[in-house]
Symmetry: C2
Subunit: 230 residues, 2 copies
């Protein structure tokens, strides 16, 4: 069964959602038969390499709230993340473009390292204060999960996987996906949001049930039976 997860790096619910999905997958009876693919979704495709100033101040301006209220929201998010075993350091986080990081995830996918790369990038952004648009950083993080440094360097210098990132985003638009994380099972069933493991497990089970062919309709159909009776 195919599960595609549209997700960004600089997206707190995507990281939290990843843990919740993993918990669901752990409990899913047919987990061995699930193939997860991470799909690209940039929350802000126009982001500069790095945004200036404090994150909470930017949020405050964007939503017309006080900086103190924005910091309070960050504290709440940090607590929620801690509940999933994640360490969010908004004080360190460096916001900026994630396009190249998405390309790196696609490259890792070709080497069977997609999940490891996605995980490493999320931690780099949320815990380690790494900048996702910095190529040296991406080369180092790629090597950490087992990618070849030269291949990553060459990819970043060129346009490789740019089409795949955009193609993921076009597919998201076609599917009406406007928020992430969004989990899509066999392109038949989709759920947006970092739902609790129970809900994501329900999605997996419903997706699985759909895979069973509907009761095969024999009535009215001219056919030959296993007894050779036509």
């Amino acid at each position: 069964m195919d599960v595609e997860i549209w997700s960004d790096i600089a997206c707190p619910w995507c990281y939290i959602g990843k843990r919740r999905f993993e918990a669901a997958l752990e409990r899913f009876e047919h987990g061995d038969e699930v193939q997860v693919t991470w799909r690209s979704f940039e929350l802000d495709p126009t982001a500069p390499a790095e945004r200036e100033g404090e994150r909470a101040a930017r949020l405050a301006e964007k939503y017309g709230i006080t900086v103190e209220r924005a910091r309070e929201m960050e504290r709440q998010m940090t607590e929620t993340a801690a509940g999933e075993g994640l360490e969010f350091r908004f004080d360190l986080a460096r916001s900026g473009a994630t396009f190249d990081a998405h390309r790196l995830i696609h490259l890792a996918g070709q080497h069977g390292l997609q999940d490891a790369m996605k995980e490493r990038l999320l931690r780099a952004y949320f815990t380690d204060g790494e900048l996702m648009s910095d190529r040296g950083t991406l080369i180092r993080l790629g090597a950490e999960v087992g990618l070849d440094e030269d291949e990553v360097r060459e990819m970043l210098a060129g346009e490789r996987f740019a089409d795949q990132v955009r193609s993921d985003e076009r597919t998201a638009a076609q599917f009406g996906i406007s928020a992430v994380p969004t989990f899509v099972v066999d392109r038949a069933l989709g759920v947006s949001g970092a739902h609790p493991p129970e809900a994501l497990l329900e999605l997996l089970r419903e997706g699985w049930a759909r895979r069973e062919p509907a009761p095969v309709v024999v009535g009215g159909g001219e056919a030959c039976g296993a007894d050779g009776n036509c």
Copy 2:
């Protein structure tokens, strides 16, 4: 979209169903995106290399009807086939095991010639009076559709694709398929029988509609929107 068709060679409704399916596919809006796979299904896995006597006589004995009634059924089937542009020659048909013919269809699949091979074998059986268990015949028919004679000869001498034939049959059993042809779309929807093109077109359209993700459920899910609003 994947369409798997479980089918035998010595199966009149399978040949007629193939034509009806082709007519449906011709009219289907997304025909270009349909990948058809022919799956093996032996109506009689215990069949000898060749059955003795007249087909109608065997049918008569099997179903407790007169030979004349069996011949009448053959005439009706021949007329139905003619309505699809097919020439059925039950007077020539040589009944017997189809296991090797199914292996040949699998081999052809590896060379992008599966449909051509399936078609050629059906015609060989129903029109040309060819024996499906005869290896020389299979080598010649394989070469006719573009397969390498030596590869076919070597395959027939060994066990290649035997597992695939049996695996198709196990899957059929799991899916509750007891009659052929059976058409299964994306392993989500199945129909048994040589239904008219309109009904098979309906199956294709219903299968297609199922591919669209259900309206993505956002309610209650904690997510980050494309505006960066988490």
